[in-house]
């Protein structure tokens, strides 16, 4: 019989279920499958039900940013607004446009949620709690996230609509473009931890990796924002240009599923940022009481989530050419430079320099690189200003 400990209560429950089932005489292999299934079921429920809360949170906070009140009618502080919305959406008609490719049309939104959900497999909640501690965890999160692009193209194509297809093209082009700096930024935590396993990366963060590599953290956050496709990177569903992009034809709950995928994705990348750069479940006493790790991880995740909301509420949508320039002419070269910098600095620093001193040495080198980059941007923008200054006069008739 497993030993009870309060700090490790989830693992205790997991072991207890297994122990009870085995003592009933079930095949141990089958018991493992049952245990894993229950754990997966719980995790999926947690991840899928979170957006019900975060949607309310997002509407409330966005409203505050814009000097409004936000939802305030249904329940205290409008807390039950999301439930009302769910009920409404459930009773709406799902319209299938004529000429649509029915199966692909239905599979599209579902396939957009499933991969985002799949990322939760590798997110460590505590030192003892992780869905699957894959030794290729980092790449797994990229791989499964990439399926979302496919889902958007499927949805856009199956709708048999110009705007939807245009949105799908924009989406595919943007999502694949921003995957490049994303992967390059992921190389840096991998390099510092010497492993692709998420749990190993958390364990290596005696000092958070955001100190070691602030540039990589920023690149990861920005390119993840572009991967979600919300403001300021929402050109794939820009209302004023192409109606609603790839999901223009979707109605009722199928539309809700697209939205669910987007909100879940935003929360998921916040969790990824916390795990990769903010120390994951690490915090005071988290080693002793793994249950605390969940609290720390969620606190960090909500903090990052708040930053993404902040960006969404304040930055205007960028143009498509700006989107591409930002990626290929700024983020990718910067990610490559940061990669070279970290690789060189970490090898050149003496091995005796350990712990936080090493981290701050890395930080200093990052600051130097950033200063150089900003200097270059400044001269470039001066040059562009000088070039474009007389143009309006010349163009006037």
């Amino acid at each position: 019989m497993p030993e009870f400990s309060f700090g490790n209560i989830a693992v205790y429950a997991y072991d207890m279920i297994g122990w009870v089932l085995v003592s009933y005489g079930l095949d141990p292999k089958l018991v493992v499958i049952i245990q894993k299934f229950l754990a997966a079921f719980l995790l999926a429920n947690f991840a899928l039900l979170t957006p019900i809360f975060t949607i309310w949170l997002e509407r409330k906070i966005a409203a505050r940013f814009q000097d409004r009140l936000g939802p305030n009618r249904v329940g205290p502080y409008g807390l039950f607004q999301s439930f009302a919305d769910i009920l409404k959406l459930l009773t709406k008609e799902i319209i299938t446009p004529s000429g649509a490719d029915k199966v692909v049309y239905f599979v599209g939104p579902i396939l957009s949620v499933a991969p985002v959900l799949g990322i939760w497999v590798v997110i460590p909640f505590a030192s003892t709690m992780i869905g699957a501690n894959l030794n290729v965890g980092v790449l797994y999160s990229v791989a499964i996230g990439g399926i979302g692009t496919l889902a958007i193209m499927m949805g856009g194509w199956a709708s048999n609509n110009k705007y939807a297809l245009l949105g799908a093209f924009r989406a595919a082009s943007q999502l694949v473009s921003y995957e490049v700096p994303l992967i390059l930024a992921l190389l840096i935590p991998t390099m510092l931890a010497g492993s692709m396993g998420m749990q190993d990366i958390v364990l290596a963060q005696g000092t958070w990796f955001v100190v070691y590599a602030p540039i990589a953290a920023a690149i990861f956050l920005v390119s993840s924002l572009a991967e979600i496709g919300r403001a300021p990177f929402d050109i794939l569903e820009a209302e004023s240009e192409i109606v609603a992009g790839y999901h223009v034809e979707y109605s009722g709950f199928l539309f809700a599923i697209w939205q669910l995928g987007e909100f879940l994705h935003a929360f998921t990348i916040s969790a990824l940022v916390s795990v990769l750069f903010l120390g994951g479940w690490r915090g005071p006493l988290a080693d002793l009481y793994p249950i605390l790790g969940i609290v720390y991880l969620l606190a960090k995740t909500y903090f990052v989530y708040f930053i993404t909301m902040w960006i969404r509420a304040t930055v205007p949508r960028i143009r498509i050419d700006q989107m591409n320039n930002l990626n290929w002419k700024f983020l990718v070269p910067l990610a490559l430079a940061a990669l070279v910098l970290v690789a060189l600095v970490d090898k050149l620093l003496p091995a005796s320099l350990a712990g936080s001193a090493r981290a701050w040495a890395h930080f200093a080198s990052n600051v130097v690189l950033m200063a150089i980059v900003f200097g270059m941007l400044r001269t470039e923008s001066r040059r562009l200003q000088n070039l474009s200054a007389p143009a309006p006069v010349a163009a006037a008739h």
């Binding site: 894993k36 297809l165 082009s173 490559l336 090898k347």
Partner: protein, 121 residues
Amino acid sequence: MSMTDSNWLFVSLFIAIALVFPAVPVVAARILGPHRPNALKNETFECGMQTVGDSWVQFKIQYYIFGLLFLVFDVESIFLFPWAVAYQQMALFAVFEGLVFILLLTGGLVYLWRKGALEWV
């Protein structure tokens, strides 16, 4: 059962659940919600007008160029991942080999930049 086995068991169970869960409310909505299609309602959205022409319009080649760029960069970064994992065990010269790899990659990017392939026209 080895550790890796039960890991991937969890992954496959979870992916199966992840595919079923979003489908459940859609089916529920199909049962709960009304379903009265008619020809006018099912028309594709076109700012309130009849759909003009074929919806398979031609698109900018630029979208495609970025797809090609991504494909190559993707493969290159996949090559770099084992290098990054082994980084802590490496001597300095081995790190330089990886850096040569990155420099070649950057060279390609600079060439395309100069050529104007990265411009949005």
